[in-house]
Amino acid sequence: MTDPRANIPSVVERTRPVKAGAPVVAAHFLGQTAVFVLGEGALVLAPRAGEARSVPVHGGAILSSAADADRIVTGGDDGKVVATDAEGKSTTLATDAKRRWIDHVAVGPAGAFAWSAGKAAFVRTAKGSERMLEVPSTVGGLAFAPKGLRLAIAHYNGLTLWFANAQSEPERLQWKGSHLDVVMSPDGRFVITSMQEPTLHGWRLADRKDMRMSGYGARVRSLGWSVGGKWLATSGSTQLILWPFQGKDGPMGKTPRILASTEVQAEVVACHPKQEVVAVGYADGLVLLVRIEDGAEVLARKGAGAPITALAWNATGTALAVGAEDGEAGVTDFG
């Protein structure tokens, strides 16, 4: 069988390998330092120059992570929320009183962050004021709105929108089923959840109109917005699925753009921060950079190994961090 991608442009040789040594579950950048989150308690910091090193941050599994410009915030099964900076210095931000698992974390504007344990969601501002909201069932995912201290909390049978610094009642958006990951569009007009079944659900916040985005072969475990929020890129298929959000109706009544077809599942997507390009990581270790406009592809990693589990661009889009389930990782430099 001939490889249909044998002759596409490649940036594989620009990749410097990083030995993560354990399954990678997420990747982030702090400046030029790539940070790989390991399932079991540690971060691997890979600066642009110099050796990568491992920093233990949790006394158990790391269940979730998020990053702003200065720090990686992680939640662990040790009941702790920990922040780690590019130097590898860790600070415990919160400890759950009952030592429950910290299932989800999110970072918000102006140094605010959020976490959840069971049905309880917490928000803390940079000044240190903290509030808690209990939702009807276990939190499936958390996301901050682009502006203001507004948190979207996904759970069973819908979503709760909560202005964490206001006294107003949280808003509830209903849709039957189990809602897991949640993202808000960069313009704040749409909120989208991935569901237990292989489908996405969305709401247009202005009129709470429902949107169903279906047709997936597997549960959607990775989704992200292209620069400016024109497209929502998702995993959940053997292709890259892109839902159009340019118009005022978002993807309602439209079909998605489908690019980068392969034989295996797309596991992770990461949108370039400056250009309409998506990095897609597949179940066989393949990583493609896909231009949305015309579907042109660049090979970033050859597909002959463990599933890709983590992808992240740095803020300027000059480096891509790639992590896999078998502990292999790397950073591709474009600068």
Binding site: P23, K119, S137, T138, G177, E197, R219
Partner: protein
């Protein structure tokens, strides 16, 4: 080739002895490490490093089927535990006394992430020899747990006399004749009888025969004749066990020497589980298709079916198809008629 972590589901009505069994599993010197998922409101006193509290959230799936449910908390917890893969050899899920085992089992088939990393080993039900009969009358959950089980520990046998024990055993058999049944005191049992059963593994479906373990541990069953015998009347079996028919929960067993036509069988069984899914708790089958030299095996939970070719029929092996359904108020006549129409 599977490096999936095996998961044993421990059910049983309140006070039957689940925690006793769990502590026995954790404390015996077997060199195995277990991650334990317990219900938050359950009995405490479990001594283990990896204990996680679950909240038994049963989530319906948006696929139009009321019986398609998963345990949302298990989806989340198993994903989290797998980040520490290597720190334990197997997972034990202890459910509350009121829990339905089906959503737990279905989680392993409905969630691709869980199914990729973990596999259901068996549903083990602990039953209280003294009180089970009462619970079967007043608690539908207790009956569900018996019907769903791969392994049943009839526990606290020291609290009843032999006649009462025989009576409760017959009641269990009236609901589920196929589970392995062990009589225990304080859940004392060799752990290989409970763990590593591979009850949901297609490769391990060897034979489907009722399990009538008599007093001496002998097989007393005599089921070589055709169907129509499994229940419906009370009589004495070889080992002296009464034969009960449970009004609500039954098993239907089908057997034929005639080769089946796959183009008739699959549409029939698909349609059956679609329409009767809520009533069918478990099903299992070994099939001989026309012009097919391999055994086809399948098993299912409610409307989820999992099947594959297993191995070639051995020379001299009787090419016979055998299916069992365990469920609630099963439309037996309709099932038998439909199955009869699947012959090639």
């Amino acid at each position: 080739m599977s490096d999936k972590v095996p998961v044993t589901v421990l059910t049983g009505y309140l006070g039957a002895g689940k925690t006793t069994l769990l502590n026995r599993i954790l404390s015996e010197p077997h060199g195995q490490k277990y991650a334990v998922i317990v219900n938050e409101f359950g009995e405490i006193g479990i001594d283990n490093d990896l204990v996680v509290g679950a909240d038994e959230e049963v989530f319906e799936m948006n696929n139009g089927c009321v019986c398609c449910t998963v345990r949302g908390d298990l989806v989340r917890i198993i994903d989290g535990l797998m980040r520490r893969k290597g720190k334990f050899d197997a997972i034990i899920v202890e459910t509350t006394g009121l829990a339905d085992p089906a959503p737990v089992a279905q989680t392993f088939f409905m969630d691709d992430n869980v199914g990729r990393k973990a596999k259901l080993d068996a549903v083990v039900t602990v039953a209280d020899a003294k009180w089970l009969q009462e619970r079967l009358k007043d608690a539908p959950e207790a009956k569900n747990q018996i019907a769903f089980a791969d392994v049943i520990l009839l526990n606290k046998t020291d609290l009843v006399d032999p006649d009462a024990l025989s009576e409760v055993e017959a009641r269990i058999r009236g609901i589920n004749p196929y589970a392995k049944l062990h009589k225990t005191e304080r859940c004392k049992i060799a752990l290989p009888e409970v763990l590593g059963r591979n009850a949901f593994d297609l490769d391990r479906i060897m034979e489907i025969e009722p399990e009538f373990l008599g007093d001496g541990g002998h097989h007393h069953h005599d089921h070589d004749h055709d169907h129509g015998h499994d229940h419906g009347h009370e009589h004495h079996h070889g080992g002296g066990l009464k034969h009960y028919h449970d009004e609500e929960m039954q098993s239907v067993s089908l057997r034929t020497d005639q080769p089946l036509d796959p183009d008739k069988f699959f549409p029939w069984v698909q349609d059956l589980v679609q329409t009767e899914g809520p009533s069918i708790l478990r099903c299992k089958g070994i099939l001989a298709f026309k012009d097919d030299d391999a055994r086809f095996v399948f098993q299912g939970v409610h409307m989820i079916l999992d099947g594959d070719h297993q191995r070639p029929w051995q020379p001299g092996e009787k090419r016979e198809s055998r299916i069992i359904f365990i469920g609630r108020k099963l439309p037996e006549a309709k099932i038998r008629e439909g199955f009869a129409g699947c012959a090639a």
